[in-house]
């Protein structure tokens, strides 16, 4: 059984930018422990001599001619944004007070 602590889950949630509630942290701590224990099974056969596969179908680099392709207009790109000034996405302050 893997030991996952609530502190670890809080840290992961910070990395993933999800403001989990304490109830969620507690539930996920238990679930994550059980899940990690189960998926650790891959270690039984993934020995050092086996090459990893990242992509199912072998492909080389794919190039295209260096010309302007289909692009969105600024208006189209902004259309779904929660907030914008017509040419730029508008966000809350990037830095906090202590920074």
């Amino acid at each position: 059984m893997s030991h996952i602590t609530p502190e670890q889950v809080r840290h992961l949630a910070t990395l993933a930018r999800i403001a989990l509630t304490e109830d969620e942290v507690n539930r996920l701590t238990g679930e994550l422990g059980a899940i990690v224990s189960a998926v650790e099974k891959v270690g039984e056969v993934a020995t050092p001599d086996v090459e990893p596969t990242s992509h199912p179908i072998p492909l080389g680099n794919v190039f295209r001619p260096d010309v302007v392709g289909d692009t969105l207009s600024t208006e189209q790109a902004m259309a779904g944004a929660p907030d914008h000034d017509g040419s730029r996405f508008r966000v809350t302050a990037i830095l906090g007070e202590e920074q």
């Binding site: 993934a46 596969t53 794919v62 929660p82 906090g96």
Partner: protein, 509 residues
């Protein structure tokens, strides 16, 4: 119910091309059917207001004598994972509620160019994470066979829509079985093409090394018909396969007309025919093997020892890739934004509050798991090892395909389960995909078709065929033959036996 909604797409196509029915009539019949059953089935997240207008456009072009594609005027349903400029696109998530994409997915452009009429967007597990469609951020979808049961997932909406005759055809996406498992539990047909066979441009990404778009229908021939519309190279998707594809429809039509399996070698995967499977699923599976054998197929037992590790590898690779792909939902460029009201907040607080409010439990679970699997110090132990298992599974497939033309397995280990039955137990829920995940890990094509009803519960059971990468046409050939043989044996296609939604299903003989 209008007769038109019960017709196969291939027959509707013939009537449309002969001018015997208009696209408006066909489209209206399906919209009427949607109005009639949608209160119970809830397969759709959005029904298009412009479907009839699109149909009229096709009819008037046809009336003017314009040469139209053979599929012109055929309606279809579209999984909400595909970007559509004329309908909202949410991938079943509240974080994208009401989002109207600024561009069409290539697959969407293709069905438009083929003159097909979109009826609406179908429900799905949020960001395609799930096997029951219970993880949709909006509502659940009922299995037309038993409205207290799940329609499978993540493409439960598309499968339920074709099963309940709300659409003759639908589009799906399959990362670990999201086209094939819903087909199995709703008595319909679904196809996951070779990885790269269909463009993923404009498809909301779940796990990029696994995702593939494919067709959903009530017969192998109709599934092939839709596949021919969407398959092919796309310069917008760098994983798209450049070589052209042969017609799946021609192969399926030919094979269905003269079903013969002489000389075909089918491999029964030992790891996917075990005591852990529901008895009725195994019974129908063994009957199918006997049927294939009686019509010339040779059945060979295949040992694929690493298939037992597929689910574990998948639930490391998928969350890892998903946690990266879903980073884009950051409240800046599209979708939801929640701004905390207490004290001074930064953009990071806004992102975290937005993602907390906009994502459901399953999505959070997988993002946290993926973040863990990719963390410094754990990467080699988890993600790295899962990628090695992927190699071993590919080797199992290569070994198998040196002996047989195709593998045959049950599509899912059980029939449709009840709502809520597995909702609090992610590991049990994830095990539903043990049969379908290997094909995604190896990139090979998989075709799911119904093989009967389970004696114990009267619910549909599905068979899955898998072939080597690029051999998609072989699956349509074998699948159409098997389907024709099953219909000849049973006297009816499983999909035609579905009760009216909410009505009890018949006894199984």
């Amino acid at each position: 119910m209008s007769e038109l909604t019960r017709l196969p797409a291939i027959e509707l196509q013939g009537l449309l091309n002969a001018g015997e029915v208009s696209s408006r009539e066909v489209t209206q019949a399906h919209l009427d059917r949607i109005s009639q059953v949608e209160g119970t089935v809830q397969a759709f997240l959005h029904v298009s207001e412009k479907a009839l207008g699109d149909a009229d456009d096709i009819d008037s072009r046809r009336a003017k004598g314009e040469q139209l594609p053979s599929t012109a005027g055929l309606p279809l349903a579209v999984k909400d994972v595909l970007c559509t400029t004329d309908m909202p696109t949410t991938a079943g998530s509240r974080i994208l509620e009401g989002w109207q994409p600024p561009y069409d997915a290539t697959v969407v452009s293709k069905y438009r160019a083929a003159g097909m009429v979109a009826l609406g967007k179908t429900n799905m597990d949020e960001f395609a994470m799930g096997s029951s469609t219970e993880h949709s951020g909006y509502h659940r979808t009922a299995n037309p066979w038993d409205v207290e049961r799940i329609p499978g997932g993540s493409g439960g909406g598309s499968a339920a829509a074709v099963s309940a005759f709300e659409a003759p055809l639908a589009l799906g996406s399959d990362t670990g079985g999201s086209i094939r498992q819903p087909a199995a539990v709703t008595g319909t047909v679904g196809f996951k093409p070779t990885y790269g066979g269909v463009s993923r441009y404009g498809v909301i990404a779940l796990a990029s090394s696994l995702d593939q778009v494919g067709p959903v229908a009530r017969s192998v021939v109709d599934t092939a018909l839709l596949h021919d519309v969407i398959a092919g190279h796309d310069a917008h998707d760098s994983t798209s396969i450049a070589s052209p594809w042969p017609s799946m429809l021609d192969a399926a039509v030919q094979s269905a007309a003269a079903p013969d399996l002489t000389g075909v070698k089918l491999g029964r995967v030992l790891q996917l025919d075990t005591e852990g499977f529901q008895p009725g699923v195994r019974q129908r599976f063994h009957e199918l093997l006997e049927l294939a054998s009686a019509h010339g197929a040779e059945i060979i037992d295949i040992d694929a020892p690493h298939f037992d590790y597929a689910v574990s590898a998948y639930y490391l690779i998928l969350p890892a890739e998903a946690s990266s792909n879903l980073a884009k939902y950051d409240s800046v460029r599209f979708g939801l934004r929640i701004t905390p009201q207490d004290g001074q907040v930064t953009v990071e607080d806004v992102m975290a509050a937005t993602r907390e409010a906009g994502f459901g439990d399953e999505v959070k679970r997988r993002i946290i798991l993926g973040t863990y699997a990719l963390s410094a110090g754990y990467y080699d132990a988890y993600y790295g090892k899962a990628q090695k298992v992927r190699t071993l599974i590919q080797q199992d497939f290569s070994h198998a395909f040196s002996q047989v033309d195709a593998l045959i397995t049950p599509t899912a280990p059980t029939t449709a389960f009840r709502f809520g039955e597995q909702l609090d137990d992610p590991l049990t829920m994830w095990a539903n995909d043990m049969t379908t995940i290997p094909a995604n890990l190896a990139g090979v094509p998989g075709l799911a078709l119904p093989m009967g009803l389970a004696p114990e519960d009267g619910l549909p059971v599905g068979a899955q065929l898998m072939a080597p990468a690029y051999e998609d046409q072989r699956l349509f050939r074998i699948g159409a033959a098997l389907e024709a043989l099953i219909v000849a044996r049973d006297g009816a296609h499983v999909s035609s036996l579905v009760p009216e939604p909410g009505q009890p299903r018949g006894e199984v003989g």
